[in-house]
Symmetry: C2
Subunit: 252 residues, 2 copies
Amino acid sequence: MSQRSNGPYQLIYWPKIPGRGEFIRLALEEAGADYTDTAHKEDGINTVLSLIDKNYEGDQSGPPPFAPPILKHGDLRISQTPNILLYLAPRLGLAPDGDAIYHVNSLALTALDGLSNEPHDTHHPIAVELYYEDQLEESKRRSESYRKNRLPKFLSYFERVLKPQAAQGRPWLYGETLTYADLVLFQGIDGLKFAFPRALSKLEKSGEYSNVFKLYETVKNRPRIKEYLASDRRQKYSMGIYRQYPELDDAE
Amino acid sequence: MSQRSNGPYQLIYWPKIPGRGEFIRLALEEAGADYTDTAHKEDGINTVLSLIDKNYEGDQSGPPPFAPPILKHGDLRISQTPNILLYLAPRLGLAPDGDAIYHVNSLALTALDGLSNEPHDTHHPIAVELYYEDQLEESKRRSESYRKNRLPKFLSYFERVLKPQAAQGRPWLYGETLTYADLVLFQGIDGLKFAFPRALSKLEKSGEYSNVFKLYETVKNRPRIKEYLASDRRQKYSMGIYRQYPELDDAE
C-alpha cells in the first residue's frame, strides 16, 4: 500500500474529546490504516501545544498550523480538517479518481459547515473566549435557530443529494462506494444525536430525512467502524464541539 | 493553456455583492482567465436560484450545490469556495506542484475561516434568518470579541507565517510566487477594512502585522488585480459578508 511508503500516519489532536480530530480518525479507521494519535499518548498534549505555540514559525515540514487537527506523514505536516481529509482520501481509497473528488470535497465541506461548525456556535454564539454560562441566553436563541431552521435545511439538502443515489440502490452521498463525505456526515449526525437528542429523535421520526439516517446506520455498521466505535480509541463526547446542554435542545 | 480545453470558466454567484464569489473572481482575474460571471448577466440570479432550488437533485455535472459560489467548467459543476479555489489553482498557476498544495490549501482555509466566515457572524451571531436589527446587541458583543481577540489572533498567525518568508525576501504566504492563499488573505483584509475601518486602521498602525499589510498592498498592486479593482467588474461592498455598521467598529 502506498501509505506504507511514508510510514504510519500521525494524528496530532487534543486528548479527551473526539472534536474535529474524529473526522480524521474515522477515515483512518475505515481504511484500516496504520496511525498514531496524540490523544492516546501520555505527553500528546505537549506535541499539540508546541506546534501551535505563538512563537513557532514552522519548518521544512510545513508552515505553522493555526490549530489542530494536524497530520504528519513522512516529511509532510498539514492542518485543517477538510485539507487533511483531502490528502488522506485518495491514499486510503475514500475518494473517486479524477475530478469527481471535487464533488466529494464539496459535500464534505458542506457537512463540516452545517453539522460541525454551526453546532459549535450553538454554545458559543458570542465569543469562543467566554464561558458558555456568559452567553447562555444567546446560546438558547442560536440553538433554537439551528434546530428549527439551519439543521433541517442541511438535512433536506443531504436528503436531496441522496435521493437520486437511493434510486440507483446506492446509500452513499456520491458514486458507488463509500467516500470520506459519508464519514463526515456520519460523525456530524452522531455528534448531533449526543448534543440534541430530543431534536434529532424528532427529525429522524419525521421520516423526511430517511436516506440521511439510513446512511448514518450504514456507516455505523461498517465492520471497521463498528469495531472502532466499541473500542477504547473512540473517546466520549464531553466539552468539545458537541455538548449536551438540555436547555439548548427541544422541549421534552 | 489547459483551461482553454474545456472552454471558459463560468462563475455562478449572486449579483450586487462581492461576497464569497470574490475569492473566485480574484483567482480568475490574477490569472487573466477567460470567464463569465452571472453577477453581470441580466438573468444571472435565475441561474443561481435554479441550481439551489429545493427540488433540484443535480445532474451528470454534479450533485446539487448547497449554495453559491458555483463554478462550471466544461462538464464539471462544483461548489464551495475553498473547493473551487482548489480546482482552479493548479489550472491557473496559483498553487505549487505536488504535496505543497496542501500547505497553501490550509492557509487559504484558515484565511477563509478567520477573515470571511467569522466576520459574517459579527452581524449575524444569533440566526442568519433574522434581521441584523433583531440581533443588534449580540452583534455588538460578538464584534467586540472579533475585533479584540479573534482578528488579532488570525493576524498574528499570518504574521508568523510570513516572518520566515520575509527573511528570505518573499512577500508570499508560501513559496516563491503568489498563490491563491495570498489572494484570499488580500480579499479578507480588504473586506475588513470596509467593515471595520477604525479597527483595521489601528491594527495596521500598531506595526505588529506589518508583513500582513505589506502582502495586502503587494497583491493590490499586481497589474491585473489593480486593473480589476478599478473596473466595473469589481462590485461594491454592501449587504454581504462585509457590512459597514459603525456601531460594530472600534469607538472613534
